[in-house]
Structure formats: structure tokens, C-alpha cells
Symmetry: D2
Subunit: 400 residues, 4 copies
């Protein structure tokens, strides 16, 4: 294992989470220099995390002679420029979500890093939560049969920094901010080789006086017939609602990442300090999260990124994944305008093909078996469909 | 309070639930006669529930001299005929869900009972669960502010009787069977005066070898801007998933009617008998429901129906409600075919108008306030939008 | 089914719950007259519930010519007098919990009703919650094997009326108020024929400036070896904590009656009205209960009482049960003083004998099998104990 | 931060968990040599975890020239010998739980490391789960007021290795195996300076054919008046029940570490591989844990241990803590035999004194206020106790 010296670009909330993770738990990797547009914020950040240097010159931060990895933790509209500069410097680049503001932007970033031949990772933390990783493994091992439906929901009362609310800088509203997580979670469960075919989406600006959507719901149809469903909101009340549900032909998975994780606290005293990201109250019933950077996937994400870099292999989440997510979001925005299903347009599909979900196909004495149920008395009841007439009948057979 | 003698039409699972409820808990109302197409099933049913008479003649059951209320618990394709016969007999009629197979059928039934001037109730039990009734009351009292979104989900491995699977007899698949519940639950939460404007729906037949949909998801846009979302499935694994989620500008409600109600049981012994409707296993971790007919709304439903009949007022759920539900389902099926939003077509709207969801509108020193957050040190941070440039800025003010 | 006209003695919170139940859901039984020490409260109560008469003369209320059942919903110190008066009047008597302030008092009440030959029911509502009834049935059917341990917990911030806090009137503190519920719940799960042998209890007055205990924990040893454990508190924060846990040799049951029943609400609006009994807040995350009188057992309790009266059989909860509960509480108070296990002293045991919990007894090649586990590769691992040396060894056998 | 080379003594389940943690997540510390009594198990273990050397000679493992830290992951009866050898070698020693089989043994181990002046840490993982650490912090910050009661429960179907079942090797049964966790969790919540005064305990051997207890419940009385309660069982069915509940004068905390952590899976397919430690089934409803070594505290435990070693400070959990735990367990076993409260005997108390839990003390017009409640109409109801007569009265005052 190599130890990495890292350039951190950006000093916002996400920069804090990233550095807390990199410097946490006996890890040997360290942030060596941080870049901020503001000298004061840069100095405060480096003091907070014990970072030797801060600078307001992005280029010199990227080209710092001692660092070999650059983390892009900047607002969306700066991703392309920053990634291009890192690629030119020939260093490994890890870029926060969403990759681009549009699929076009993401596609250019992908081509930039591929042409430069540098290691590139897409920092999609929510695909790395320990629960999600274990659930994906169970799905891959067949515990759910074929996946038919994935719901991924992320909802809270709205982001903390001004730039998030300006669609000119971000590329959109709640979809760009939250939907990118949901889409990639969905892809991990239906299988990354399962091509997203088309999207139906509705958006609205219900509560906040902004130009972009504060609520959106979308359906994504995959090649296998599976449906992905994302629900994002900047107007949810009650904290951070972060849940995934997966249905398959043989099983179900429910994940709750924030509000119901087995940690429940009532306090009439208040003043209990920080509860959890985007918690709305500090008294009454609260639902804290144990170790947020671990539970939200940051720990496993950086482990995968840096282990992959050491091993010379692709990380779980690549710039290509980021590009596909942007393409799905583009289709969602088009659908919200057209009111119809819109195709997901991909310059290149690298995922192969996925067969249709397996339907049941049992027959019994020439009829199609629709269902079989074990009765309390041990007999078996079947619902049969006559192949010729199409009529359905109940049929009880002894024993089974 | 009058005591009613009731004609029960039908001896299926729903007839059992209805009679168990009517005969339960010190109630004075009694089923007097039951009609079944099969003499054997009719006799078994009347023996099971202590009903004096059974018959295979529907007309004589309806016109039984001692009954004043007729409950229609028959397969969908028989509703119109049965309701017409009861109306002709001048008796009160209570019809199970869905009212019709189509909005046209439901509209004719509505007109039939209104012309005959008989009391008519729509037996939509899931709008009467004690949790739902109390949650609706909280919403009506303003606990959630304006409702922005309602998700109603009903999913299980598929119905128990053959006729449910035959769309010719029922009018469709999982939407007709389960979606009718969800739609009316959604209407109760967004307000029954809130007109359903259009529907976007996707359906698929993923697992079962049938002609109709075994999975469907739909979005319903209401006049206020609220979105209703229903998810229905005949392929869910793990039991009966019956959940509602309501989001508003000031609050949230989550209801779980079946799988997580504070009753959890692990058994390695099995043989624990009936667990709950559509439970898949009888060992391992099980999630039984206490008193199913109460928890699923049957008790409060019949109380409302018969109390309303006694009082000469409309029940909470009327044939007009059933008609609106059918109209929404019709739009859902059209949308599934067209791939676009489809208008909800109503011959008559009785609900008035509902204003748009209230957006926030605070200003601060000439700028629009997007968000205000209390910082740990007592200061207030505001995110402001400049009215002219459209730029967003963070601004911290002392005290607040 | 007969319809009963009822005398209600008492107009406190419990009188309200009882009358709400008796007059609810199409029931034909009605309270005919109510007694209160205060004319004003009596009048308000009868107006609230549509009761024809109220009186401040207990004797005349009991002997009202039209009533056949008397419900004793009075403070504990009045139970014995009231029950004696009802017995003398030859009417059925239903007495709220606890039966007496001491086992002596309860024993006299039991003898009084038995000598008078009147129907007598012990109104122990929490043994009648739909969840509890179904769980008891599962236990009786063997789903848990032999019951080894029952935990029953009832905790809230303290009662609403002054008299509850005065041990001279009630017989004690939190044990008398809440422990009586827990003890009878425990008896229902371990089996009513399973004799409570001895009790170990600790009490303390931690928060409230009162003379009696505001917190207590007790262990009850039963003849079978099962342990009952009750935890009662008048200082709990967060609402009403009402949970039962049952462990058996083959399974587990967990019941949550109040705080986590599948109904979750967040409100920033407040003003949402009554949430649930003893809820502490009206905003933030709230956990309401759907239909409280049903969920807390009142409905099934009165159904059982009046059905049993009609049928001439004993109800599930009798005065003898109330007496046993008092005897256990007496032993608890003695143990809290002595610091040792104290015997449960019963003038008469009507429950027969219960065998010791069944221990496992498998042998393998002459050794005792402690445990067998299925390994992932299909082999079976056994932990064996050598009968002679008493040594324990791991042993893996092929297949199994 | 220094990087440590570690000697691991023992190759059982706990050795696997420890090494998985030390080698996990970009950590720079590495196990350098492993000792096992069995050459085969040692070789398999070193191959599994990429450890350069294994040996069957404990002394040479301890004195390996490149290691500076020794982890004792051996059966209980070997702790004292191993710790003495490490102390003699002058290396840092980290010893798994329980420290000794008895307080005497633990006291000698404590003296050994203190005399040798080596760094010594007590590997009590469950005090380090991220939830527990955050909850302890909230308690320390006053969110719960004064702690009145802590329940810690650990229950499962029994341990996996033969030696655990032999009390001669371990010092007891379920108390020694599981109670040591509970006791130290309780001490962390009531405050480590809060002296455990006396213990009441009951034990039984209900199911397994062994000589030691397979079930135990104990109450621990602390100097402040707080009560700790532990429940341990080797006969629980349904998986691993690991829950803590903390009640305080102003709040409540509930932690669930295993069965209800927001990860729920149903599978009819089975074969989903490893679910979680001590899960009983591989199909039906399952409740996996995301990242077990993180959720169970191993990650934060080793971080604290090695960071403390680097910083020259005491870790959170010391050998003195382990000694106190053994002293409480000794008292529990004595109490189980005597049937009375038994004092906790400590050769030395290092924790200072803790004041009694703060009782409420408000007065109103000369009376003691027992309770105040806000009525729905805005008035305040007080329950008052007359200082002279001791009588309790309800009193409603305007406004409040």
C-alpha cells in the first residue's frame, strides 16, 4: 500500500467530509495542500485539519510537487476546468458528484482523462455505504432473483450554500443535487450492464422562490424491463430522508440510511449539539447517525479509490459512470418539459446487453400455473389459466 | 341507533372480512341472508357466521323482506347488475371496491343509485384504517401545512382467487385490484376537493404469465400542484407491503399498515397458524397484525356507513368517490399505452377549486429569502437571491 | 346477545376511556347512569357521552332499576366498598385495575363476589390489546416453545390526577399504578397456571418529591423456571413506553404498543391537537396511535366481559387474577424493603402445576450435544461435552 | 502517527475480527506475527490475512524483534499468563474481554502492567460502536439530564467454540461471556466516576446441558442512585439481540446494534451467504448489519488504542476498567448464590464521588409541585402536595 499526498480543491461542506475521512481512523494518506478562492477560508480549513499549506492559486495547488492525487470538491461549474488542469498535470483525479452539469460536459471530462491516461474516480459516496455495498453483494449473489424495481429517495429541506440554488452554476435543481445519487444507486442494483433506455420525469417548484425544481420524481426504464424510480426534494420536513427499496422476483431489500438506523433519542434538554446532517430540531425525538462519514460511504469510497489507484485497476465508480448519470439526468429534464418518455442518449454504451426479467413458466396438465399456495390443511391450491380459452380457475390438489 | 339486517352478496375472502366485522365486538347489526352462486359455499358461509339463510337466487336475497341493507361483495363484473337490482328494490347499497371496471360503468352505477334515491356507500376500507383516519385529521388541522406529495404503495405476491387474474372480469390487473385503494387514499390526503388533473403511468407484466399488468407505477397531478404517486405490484416478496407517505410544506406522515406495526415474532417452530393476510412464511421473523379487521379499516368503515345511513347523511366514501377513482384508473391505463400524461376525464366535477400550494415569499433588505438557518453560535444564516441579477449569496446576520 | 344498561362509577380519565369504548362502533350496550362525587363533573360527563342520568349518590347509582352491570372506575381506595355494594345489589361488577391496594383487600373482594354469586370481571385492558391477544395465542400454539423470560415495561412521565400520587389512597407508587399491568401481561405469557413463586424488587424515588416509588424493577420467578421482569417508571421522558418482550426456547415476540406502531409524523406546525396519551410534545417527530381504545385493549376487554356475562362463563381476567397480581405486588414491596427474594403468598392457588422448562438433551456418540451449527460448506459442526471428564470439544462431521 | 507492527496471540473468531479491522480501510498498522497453539490454524490464519509469520511458540511471538504491540485474543484462562509475558517483554498490551476470570485475576494483571510501566488497553469493543460513542457524548453534554437507568442486553443462541462453554476455562457462563460488555456499557452511560455499589443477580441454566448459567439478569446500584440492568442469554432465538436503553431525567436513548438498523431483507432464494454474526436463518426476513467491524466498535476501538499509545495517554478503556467489570461480575455471581444484594468489592476506587440524582424541587404558594401540565386551552394544571397534611390536589391556574 502506497501513502498518498493529496491536493484538495475546495473548502465547503464536502471538502470537510472528504478530509475528515482521509485523515480518520489510522489512515496514512494525508491532504498536503488545499485550494480555496478565499484566503481566509483556506487558512481556516488547513488549520482545522492540520494541512501544511493553503493557497488561492488552483494551478499551483494541482501542480504541488509532493502530491500525486487531486480531489475536486468544487461547485459543479468548475469541475470541467479543474479536471482538465489535473489531467494536464498528469495526476490522479477524484471528482465529486455530479460529474458535469450536462452529459456533454461529462463526456468531454471523460475524454480528457482517458486521453491523458490518468486515474480518474467518480466520488459517488452513497454507492459505497456499508449497507449498500452489502446489499449489492446480496443482489449479485441472487438473493433477490431478478431485480424488477428500485426506488431511491433523497429528500431534505434544501442545501446549505448559496451556489447550490443557482441552476446556472449547477446545471439544475434538486435533480442535479440529489438525483445523481439516486440514479447511480439504482444502476448498482439493476446492474451496471443494464442499459437505461428511457426516462419519464415530472418536476415542480412548489415552495422555494427559485428558478429550478425543488421537487422531482422520475422513472427510468432499463433494458431488462426493470424500473428505477427516484424521488428528490428540497422541501422535505423532518430531517434527511435517504432510503432505498429494491424488489426482485425472489426477494426485497429496504435500506434506511438516516432516520431509522437503530439510534433513537428523546431530549427535553436541547443543546445536545450537532445531531446529524440536515436534522431540523435539537430537542424532542431525534434520530442521529453513528459515524456519519462511515455510514454515508465516504470511508469505503476513498478506500476503493486509493486501493484501486495502488492496484492499477478501475475503481467501482468511474467517470464513465458519472457520464451515464448525467445522460439520465439530461433525459429527465427533457421529459419534464415534453411530458413524455425520453430516450437516454449515450455517445457510447460500454455495458453489453441484459436479458429480460425471467417470468415464471410452469404448466400443470396443459394449463399455465399462475400461482400455487399451500393451504393450512396441507393441500395445494393452484390458479390455472386455460391455454385455449384464457379462462382462469382455482384448483385444489391433494398433497402437492 | 337502528339495528340493521343485512343481505350479503358473495362468499369470498372479502365477504368473510365484511361479516367478521359486522358480527364482531358487541355490534347489533347482523347478516340475515347470504347469496352465493354455489349452494355449497353459501351453506358453509352461513354456518361459519351464524347466518339464518343462504340462497343461490340473488334477486330473492336482495328483496329479502327482513333486510334493509345490501352489501355487494361480488367480483367486479357483477357490480353494475347487483347495484341496479338493489336500487330497484329501494334498499341501501354498500359496494366493494373498485366501484366499476371503467369510469363509464361507475358513472352508470352512480346515476342508478342517485335516480333511485337510495343510500349508497363505497366500501373503501383502507381510507378507514384508524391510522389513516387520525392522519387525515392531522392533515386537515394543518399539521403538515400544504400537502405536496402522497405516496401510496400496495404490493403483495398476487391475489388468492382465479377471477382476480382475468382482466375481462375485473377490468385490468394490479391497478384495478390495488391501485383503486391507493388513489382514494391519496385523494383523502390531498383533499377530496382537489381535482385530479392528469395521470402518467407505466405498467408491465414482469413475472406472471397473464395478459394484464402485474406491476404499475403512476403519478397523478392535482389542481393544487400536489403529486400523488401509487405503486402497485402482484410480484412483491415478503408479505403485504401497505404503506403511505405524505409530505407537506410543514410536516411529514409515514404509515405502515402491515409489516412494521410494533408486532415482531421470530419462530423456529413454525406451525404458528395464520400470521397475516398474504404472509409468505410461517417461520423465521414474522410481522403479524393485531386485529386485522380493525387495522385494515373494516370496523370504522361499517360504523361510518351505518351511522351515516341512520343519520341520513352521506358517508365518507360515496359512489361519486368510486367514480372518480375509476376515472383516474382509466387515465392511468390510457397513459400506459400512450407514454404521455393523460387528462382525467370526469363527466362532472363536484369538488370546487383548490388553490396552488403556498410558496414561501419572505424578503430581506430587498432580496428574496431562499432559506434561513440557525447557526450553532446563535447567529442566523440566510441564503438570499438578488431580485435583479438573480445571483444567490450567503449572508450571516447577528442574533436573528 | 343481550344488550346491557350500565352503571358507571367514576368520571376520571379511565371512565372516559371505558364509556368511549362501550358507546363506540355500533355497540348496543349503553351507560345508563353515572356516579361522581362532584355534581358538576357528573353532569359534564353525562353530557359528554349522552348518558341519561348522573348522581352523587353511589348507592342509588348501583341500585338503578334499569342497569344490570356496574363498572367500578374509582380511585383504588374505594374499590372494596364499591364492589361490596354491587355484590349486595346482586349485579355484575367489573372493576378497574389494580383490584385492591393489597392482597388482603383483593382477597376480601374476591370472597365477597364469590359469596354473592355475581359475575365479576377484572378490567385489565393491556392483556386485551389485539397484539397481545394474538401473541398469546401464538405462544399457546407453541410458536415460541417453552417461555423462558417475559419483560413487560410501562413508563411515562407520571399520572394526570392528584390522587394517583398519594400512596395512602392507592397503596403505593409506580408499582401499584403500572406494575399491575405488567404482572398480568407476564402471567398471560408464561401461562396462568404457572405459579409465581418469589419476587426480587428494587424501588427508588429519584425525581418526584413524593413518598412512594417513582421507579421500580422486579423479577418474578415462576414454577417452570421462567422469569418475569417488570420495569415501571413515572420519570420516563419521550411519551408512553409500553413494550413487551417474550423469549422462548424456539422463538421471540416483541410488542410495542405506543411509540413505534407504524405511525410516524413530523410537524413543524404544532397545533396538531391531541397526539396520544402522555405524549410530551406537539411538534417535531411524533408517534401517534391509531385508535387508542382499540389498540390499548378496551374494545376487546369489554367484548370479552359482556360476552362472558351473556354466556355464563368466566371472563379471561377474573377477580382471582386481580388477587394474584396484588399478591405479587405485595411480595415486590416486601423485597424492596428486605433486599432479598420474597415468596409470593397466596391464600389459595387455583392453577395446578407447571413442569420445568424443557432442556435440550441430545447425545452423539456418548457425548452430550451442546450445540449444532450448519457450516457454509454443508458440514455440521457440533460442540460436545464428554460425560466423564466434563471437557468440551468442537467436532465437525460430514453432511450432517 | 506511528505505524505499529503487531503480535497477534490467538486465531479464533475474535482474532479474525481484530485482524480484519487492523488491516482494513487504508490503515498503516499491520499484524507481523501470529501465535496459535495449532501450527495448521496459525498457517491458515497468516495466509488469510497476509501475515508474514506464524508460530506455535507464544514467547517468541511476544518477543518478536519487529513488533511493539501485542494483542491478547486468547481464551480467558490464558489472559493472565500472556499479559505477564508481554509486560515482561516491555511491550504495549491490548487484552480482549473479559480481562480476568475473576476480580482477583484482573487485579493481578492490572498490577503487573502498572509495575512494568507498559501501555495497557482493555479491548471492550461494544463501548466503541459509533452509536455508543455518539450517545455517550450526548449524555455527557446533558441531553438526558441525570441518568437514572441503563439497560444493556446481549442475547444470542450461544457461542461458536467449545471452550466458551467450559466455566473452568472462562470463569462462568453467559455473564462472563456477555455480561462484561453490558457492565462496561452501563458504566460509560452512568459515568465511570459513578461507583457501582451493589449487585442483585439471578441466573439459571434453562436450556443447554451445561454446568454454568445460560441466562442471567442483574441489577447494579450506583452511588448516584442510578440503576444498571443487564440481561444476557445464550438461549435467545432470532439472531443477535444487542440493545441498550438509557433513561435520564430529561431524555431517553435507545440503541439497536444488530436486528433493526435500517437494513431489512427478505429472500425466498436463500443462499445469500453470510448474513450477520449469529443470524439463525438465511431466508425469510433477515436483518443484516452493514460493516460489522465498524458497527460493532472494532474500528474506533483500535483507533483509540493506537492513537492513545502514540500520544502517551490512557485509552478510553483501561485494565482498571476491566478490573471493575470483573468485580461487578464477582458480585453478580455471589448474589445469584445468596439471593440478596451483594456489595461490589474493589481493592481500590479511582473514580471519586458522584452526587445523588437531582430531584425536582419547585414550590407553588407553599406547596410542593409534583407535576405541571399545559392544558389544550393554554391554562396550566399543577398537581400540588401540601407540606403539612401530605395531601395531593389538582390545581388549574390561568395562563401559567
Amino acid at each position: 500500500m502506497q501513502h498518498h499526498a493529496i491536493t484538495m480543491l475546495g473548502t465547503g461542506l464536502i471538502g470537510d467530509f472528504y478530509t475528515m475521512t482521509l485523515h480518520g481512523q489510522r489512515g496514512a494518506d494525508r491532504v498536503r495542500v488545499v485550494y480555496s478562492r478565499s484566503e481566509g477560508r483556506g487558512r481556516a480549513f488547513s488549520a482545522r485539519w492540520g494541512i501544511p499549506e493553503s493557497t488561492t492559486d488552483m494551478e499551483s495547488a494541482i501542480r504541488h510537487p509532493e502530491t500525486d492525487v487531486v480531489v475536486v470538491a468544487l461547485p459543479n461549474y468548475l469541475h470541467e476546468t479543474a479536471v482538465a488542469a489535473v489531467a494536464a498535470a498528469g495526476k490522479a483525479v477524484l471528482c465529486t458528484k455530479p460529474l458535469g452539469r450536462t452529459a456533454d460536459e461529462a463526456w468531454r471530462m471523460l475524454q480528457t482523462v482517458e486521453r491523458a491516461g490518468v486515474f480518474a474516480g467518480y466520488l459517488e459516496d452513497l454507492c459505497y455505504t456499508p449497507k449498500t455495498l452489502k446489499a449489492i453483494r446480496s443482489v449479485e449473489e441472487g438473493a433477490l432473483g431478478d431485480v424488477t424495481w428500485v426506488r431511491s429517495r433523497e429528500a431534505h429541506p434544501g442545501p446549505h450554500s448559496a451556489w447550490f440554488w443557482d441552476g446556472r452554476l449547477t446545471g439544475g435543481g434538486a435533480i442535479i443535487d440529489l438525483g445523481c445519487h439516486c440514479i447511480e444507486i439504482i444502476r448498482n442494483f439493476v446492474g451496471k450492464g443494464n442499459r437505461p433506455v428511457s426516462v419519464m420525469c415530472t418536476t415542480d417548484t412548489l415552495v422555494h422562490p427559485i428558478d429550478d425544481e425543488d421537487n422531482a420524481i422520475a422513472l427510468i426504464r432499463f433494458e431488462s424491463g426493470a424500473i428505477g424510480q427516484f424521488e428528490v426534494s428540497w422541501t422535505f420536513r423532518g430531517g434527511m430522508d435517504l432510503r432505498d427499496e429494491v424488489a426482485g422476483t425472489r426477494g426485497t431489500v429496504w435500506l434506511n440510511h438516516f432516520l431509522r438506523t437503530g439510534f433513537e433519542m428523546f431530549t427535553a434538554a436541547g443543546g445536545g449539539g450537532y445531531v446529524a446532517e440536515k436534522a431540523e430540531t435539537a430537542s424532542g425525538w431525534l434520530f442521529p447517525v453513528g459515524d456519519e462519514v462511515a455510514e454515508l460511504g465516504y470511508v469505503d469510497m476513498f478506500t476503493d479509490m486509493l486501493d484501486s489507484l495502488d492496484a492499477g485497476r478501475s475503481p467501482r465508480e468511474t467517470f464513465y459512470d458519472g457520464y451515464v448519470v448525467n445522460a439520465v439526468m439530461d433525459a429527465a429534464y427533457r421529459s419534464a418539459r415534453s411530458g413524455s418518455w425520453e430516450p437516454v442518449e449515450l455517445a457510447e454504451w460500454r455495458g453489453g446487453t441484459t436479458p429480460r426479467i425471467t417470468a415464471t413458466g410452469e404448466t400443470y396438465e396443459g394449463s399455465t400455473v399462475i400461482k400455487r399456495e399451500l393451504l393450512p390443511d396441507g393441500r395445494v391450491k393452484m390458479i390455472l389459466k386455460d391455454a385455449v380459452t384464457g379462462d382462469y380457475v382455482d384448483r385444489v390438489i391433494a398433497g402437492g
